[in-house]
């Protein structure tokens, strides 16, 4: 390539802002909530299509906003921040694996800050479908409630015509159920204070630290800090390749996984634990390719117990009213049907 062409391409690359693209695997329309990890890749290219290296990329992933009428199964998470991180671009890309916790449209906000030039901001929408079979399960429940109401409506109307109304029995059952109702029960899921774990490499020269800050509860992204220091001096180790993984120990599922590089030997990112269950964060550190410091790989794990949060009362009331309303509708229909058939028989 002639030298003038090289200069021209370099000038073009410098003149145009970098472009950011998003790819997911599986593709957007095939992603299902809580069904395995989705591989997310953010790619940054300059004006001539070459990967951008000297830049940092910050991203924030927000959960879908709450629907007015129908909630998801984790309404506390809706509209909240799920992930937040800043990484040095490696070969012009940042990637992570994530298990999306609920259906809806997520917003992934990306800000690329080159070492030279203006920052670029992009917002991507990632649409995630509901788990397969959930709509069918709901339909079965609603049809069942409607059928139950219908059957009792017919039964009550017939019994009433025959003046065999065991009212006292119904009231007794109602009082019994009300007395046995666990409405005053409280959530007994245990909350463990934020923790910190340490581990050294095989040679005992470097020490990794993993810390999850509080409050570790559903609905709030908790800070996750990792550092790797020289034991002799206490200084951060430069050029570290990190691998962080979040596991849900109750279900044995992998929630998040990311491999990234730092120059300073430490990082802070935010992760929301969306299930009030025991989790485990595992951090591995090894020398980055071409890094100045050599050390043995080191791994540190930290158990994290997540505080569950009760769903908002309006959401509970609305959903319960919907279900009871369906049963009530069936009941009224049953009475009407029975009354009509009774009139026709008379």
């Amino acid at each position: 390539m002639p030298l003038s062409a090289v200069f021209l391409l370099a000038a073009l690359a410098g003149a145009e802002p970098p472009s950011v693209s998003l790819q997911t695997s599986p593709r957007g329309e095939e992603i299902r909530a809580t069904e395995g990890l989705t591989h997310v890749v953010l790619e940054v290219r300059d004006g001539v299509g070459a990967p951008v290296r000297d830049a940092s990329l910050a991203y924030v992933l927000r959960a879908p906003t709450r629907s007015r009428w129908i909630s998801t199964d984790v309404p506390v998470v809706e509209g909240t921040e799920l992930l937040r991180g800043r990484e040095q671009l490696s070969n012009g890309r940042v990637s992570f694996d994530y298990r999306f916790p609920l259906r809806g449209t997520y917003l992934l906000t990306v800000a690329v800050t080159p070492e030279e030039g203006a920052a670029v901001n992009r917002v991507f929408a990632v649409r995630v479908g509901e788990r397969s079979g959930e709509a069918r399960n709901l339909a079965v429940l609603l049809v069942g409630l409607l059928g139950l109401g219908l059957a009792f409506g017919v039964l009550f109307a017939r019994a009433a015509r025959a003046r065999r109304v065991p009212r006292a029995t119904f009231l007794g059952v109602l009082l019994l159920l009300a007395a046995a109702s666990p409405a005053r029960a409280h959530d007994t899921l245990q909350v463990r204070a934020p923790g910190r774990a340490l581990a050294r490499d095989a040679s005992g020269t470097v020490q990794a630290s993993l810390e999850v800050g509080g409050p570790v509860r559903v609905g709030v992204a908790a800070p996750v800090r990792g550092t790797l220091v020289e034991l002799a001096t206490g200084r951060p180790v430069p050029d570290v390749l990190w691998e962080i993984a979040v596991l849900d120990e109750e279900h044995g599922d992998s929630i998040f996984r990311s491999v990234f590089q730092t120059r300073e030997g430490s990082f802070v990112r935010h992760h929301q634990f969306t299930d009030g269950a025991p989790h485990r964060v595992v951090l591995r550190a090894r020398p980055a390719p071409g890094g100045a410091r050599s050390f043995s790989p080191v791994e540190v794990g930290l158990p994290v117990r997540v505080q569950a949060i009760q769903p908002p009362t309006p959401v509970v009331v609305r959903t319960l009213a919907l279900l009871v309303g369906v049963a009530g509708l069936g009941l009224v229909l049953g009475v009407i049907i029975s009354a009509r058939s009774g009139r026709e028989a008379a």
Binding site: I70, S71, T72, D73, V74, V76, E130, R131, G133, E134, A135, N137, L138, L141, L145, L148, G149, F152, G153, F156, A157, A159, A160, R161, R163, V165, R167, F170, L171, V173, L174, L177, A178, S181, P182, A183, A185, H186, D187, T188, L189, V218, D275, G276, I309, Q310, P311, P312, V315, V316, T319, L320, L322, L323, V324, A327, G328, L331, V332, V335
Partner: protein, 76 residues
């Protein structure tokens, strides 16, 4: 005028008492049905709340996966 009710014969003087008894029976029928419908609805509400919405640990833990598989039941 004679009225034949249930195979027996009564004279006109018993008419007011008979009418009152029929009216009372009609009101009892109406209220009984309404009470049953209200009781049924309340029982359904209590059972659904207990099974699908309460945080009572034995019930919550036993039905946790079911709650998460019903599309719209809010959990933690």
């Amino acid at each position: 005028v004679l009225h034949f009710i249930g195979g027996s014969t009564v004279d006109q003087t018993s008419q007011p008492r008979l009418t009152h008894r029929h009216a009372h029976a009609g009101r009892t029928l109406h209220l009984g049905l309404l009470m049953q419908m209200l009781a049924f609805t309340a029982i359904v509400a209590v059972v659904l709340y207990t099974a699908l919405f309460s945080t009572y640990p034995p019930v919550h833990d036993a039905l946790h996966e079911l709650r998460h598989s019903l599309y719209l039941i809010p959990c933690h």
